[in-house]
């Protein structure tokens, strides 16, 4: 049975950490002030705008300690990962979930944070939030629907997303717990303790900057690891800035995915606004959703 952390009320505190890549403090300011405008207090971890001079926001020990402290802090109601990059794989097996399980709170992020979201869902049955991170708050429009979707999600307002129809969509209706995230990291987690079971679930995938042949290879890995066999539905987000080899692969990311799942009959929705681009709606992992893919109408609702 899935546990949903408590939603946030005005005055609650959101903890900000960088569990993966480095992020300069000036890139986080807009996020902090917007969250404050929304009525929250913000607690900034040591890894945000740290003194680190390499790729990471700190050593493994530092990143782990910061994340652990925020997860265990009684005053913090949600932990927002300021950015992804790479790094959660290195610390996920060392996180202590004892206190977090007793007092679950929302863990928010995407991209590399997929590892943490998948890990929490598959091991502890606690829902998490796949949503925009600090960088998205640098958008001039602080009221854009993607940031608002994050706000609504943490406030506990039920969401219903209407999406444009897509030529490749496969009609149908699916009800199930929502899982997913970055395709490369979902594939990377297969066979590890952070691997997610997909039976009866609605899976969403997105990725950035991948070679088309590699997207194909990852889809084959998911398929060969039986991730599609008993899936209830598939949501395909943005595959932004995909790269191609000198000899063209001959298919777009969408065509690759369409073909990879052609032998199954679950509904499939393409072009869902979940991505590394601006279009990135908040999605609650582990929460039950209904996906309706019709000819002219596509709806994903809690």
């Amino acid at each position: 049975m899935i546990t949903t952390p408590q939603y946030l009320k005005p005055g609650d505190t959101i903890g900000l950490v960088c569990p993966a890549g480095y992020m300069a403090i000036d890139k986080v300011q807009a996020c902090i002030s917007t969250l404050q405008q929304w009525g929250y207090q913000v607690k900034t971890g040591n890894t945000v705008g740290s003194a680190s001079e390499n790729y990471f926001s700190g050593t493994d020990d530092e990143r782990l300690a910061d994340l652990q402290q925020m997860m265990d802090d009684d005053d913090v109601r949600a932990v927002l990962c300021a950015r992804g990059g790479y790094g959660l794989t290195r610390i996920v097996d060392r996180i202590e979930f004892k206190k977090f399980r007793e007092q679950p709170k929302w863990i928010i992020g995407f991209s590399d944070v997929t590892v943490l979201l998948s890990h929490i869902y598959s091991n502890y049955d606690i829902s998490t939030l796949h949503a925009p991170m600090a960088g998205a708050f640098n958008d001039p429009d602080k009221e854009n629907k993607f940031l608002l979707s994050l706000r609504k999600a943490i406030e506990g307002r039920r969401t219903s997303y209407h999406v444009d129809p897509h030529l490749f969509n496969r009609k149908g209706e699916a009800v199930g717990e929502l899982i997913g995230g970055n395709l490369a990291l979902l594939a990377h987690c297969i066979g590890t303790d952070s691997d997610v079971k997909t039976k009866g679930k609605i899976l969403f995938i997105e990725d950035v900057g991948e070679f088309l042949y590699n997207i194909d290879r990852m889809m084959y890995q998911l398929k060969r690891a039986d991730k599609f066999k008993k899936l209830a539905g598939l949501i395909v987000g943005g595959f932004t800035d995909s790269k191609d080899t000198d000899r063209p692969f001959g298919q777009s990311a969408e065509e690759i995915i369409r073909d990879a799942v052609s032998e199954y009959d679950f509904p499939v929705c393409f072009g869902f606004p979940v991505s590394h681009g601006r279009e990135n709606l908040a999605l609650k992992i582990g929460v039950g959703y209904k996906l309706k893919v019709g000819k002219n109408k596509v709806v994903l609702s809690e």
Partner: protein, 336 residues
């Protein structure tokens, strides 16, 4: 074979190779028959496209060793980056697997594509009369699949696209690595030139050799071709990856249980893609590897001459080897 029979054979195979058991076919490795003068080697392209003229140097060279060559239909075929459609590549490889007149199959090149066809290949005839399958990089899928499911040895080596165009001006290293394929096919032991690395971990290990391209190994996790490493010597190599990505892949090996219980680890060539400015990873390859081996005591050998590089010597996946890593000298030899 018609499609219906073909499908039922796949069902039979998948029942036999059930996914995620993380077990392997027990018993001693099956070594295909070594080649004699007059034997035939088939050439096929299960992954990327290659032009007919680009395999000519390899055909000439292997003929000069006294072998006959059979060129498959996928050579010269092209479907975008692939050496033909999936159907064409399956058909060509299947024909070669089943052809009793062939003693070995050399994959003309790697690229990408074996994973798309591996589950459609029927290994029943091949299993009755095993032959050498030769290749590396994307062909790691075949090595791992054969090792896990059938226990049949195969050759990890350069392919047709790495034979020098003009043998008379080829350098010594190029010749030696190509000759190492011939030697393995003939059952002659190969001497590997090993230069001790200060990062090596000393020790002696004996075990069946498995491995190949690291990225490809990661993409097999959780599938019917997943590499089983327990009690074995594992070798890995890769090219064109960022350090962070190499780090993530070694974490994948560790987190999927592939580093625990190894007899030994061999790290081949890693052509590292330089970090982007401002994104310095802060660790080198050796540190990345050793970082994942804390608590493990087995020997580790860096700079092994295998990979996407000139000094890429032929190795027998699935055969037993002994590695001796000492501070001043390293040896690696097949146990015959």
């Amino acid at each position: 074979m018609n499609r219906k029979n073909f499908l039922s054979s796949i069902v039979g195979l998948s029942a036999f190779t059930s996914v995620k058991t993380n077990e392997e076919v027990p018993g001693i490795p099956i070594i295909p028959r070594y080649l004699k003068t007059g034997d035939t080697i088939g050439i096929t392209s299960p992954a990327g496209h290659i032009k007919v003229e680009d395999i000519e140097p390899s055909v000439e060279q292997m003929k000069s060793w006294g072998f006959r060559i059979k060129i498959g239909n996928t050579i010269g075929k092209r479907n975008f980056a692939f050496g033909g459609t999936d159907d064409e590549r399956v058909k060509d490889m299947q024909m070669m697997l089943d052809d009793p007149s062939l003693s070995a199959i050399m994959c003309a090149r790697g690229g990408y594509g074996v994973i798309r066809i591996i589950d459609r290949l029927d290994f029943r005839k091949f299993q009755m009369k095993p032959k050498w399958i030769i290749g590396f990089s994307d062909v790691t899928v075949l090595h791992s699949h054969l090792n896990k499911n059938l226990g049949i040895a195969s050759i990890h080596s350069k392919m047709c696209n790495s034979f020098p165009d003009d043998w008379s001006i080829a350098d010594e290293m190029q010749k030696q690595t190509i000759y190492s394929i011939r030697d393995l096919l003939a059952g002659v032991p190969v001497k590997y030139p090993l230069i001790p690395s200060p990062y090596n971990k000393t020790g002696v290990a004996e075990g069946v050799l498995v491995g190949g391209n690291l990225k490809t190994i990661e993409s097999l996790s959780g599938t019917a071709s997943d590499l089983y490493t327990k009690g074995k010597i594992l070798f890995v190599e890769d090219t064109g990856e960022y350090l962070y990505s190499i780090d993530r892949m070694f974490w994948n090996l560790r987190r999927t249980g592939k580093l625990i219980g190894l007899k030994g680890l061999i790290v081949g060539g890693f052509k590292v893609k330089p970090d982007d400015p401002g994104e310095e990873f802060g660790m080198n390859l050796q540190t990345i590897v050793l970082d994942k081996l804390k608590n493990y005591k087995y020997p580790v050998c860096f700079d092994f001459p295998v990979g996407h590089q000139k000094n890429n010597f032929a190795l027998k996946c699935g055969a037993r080897y002994r590695m001796k890593i000492a501070p001043q000298s390293c040896t690696f030899e097949e146990i015959i």
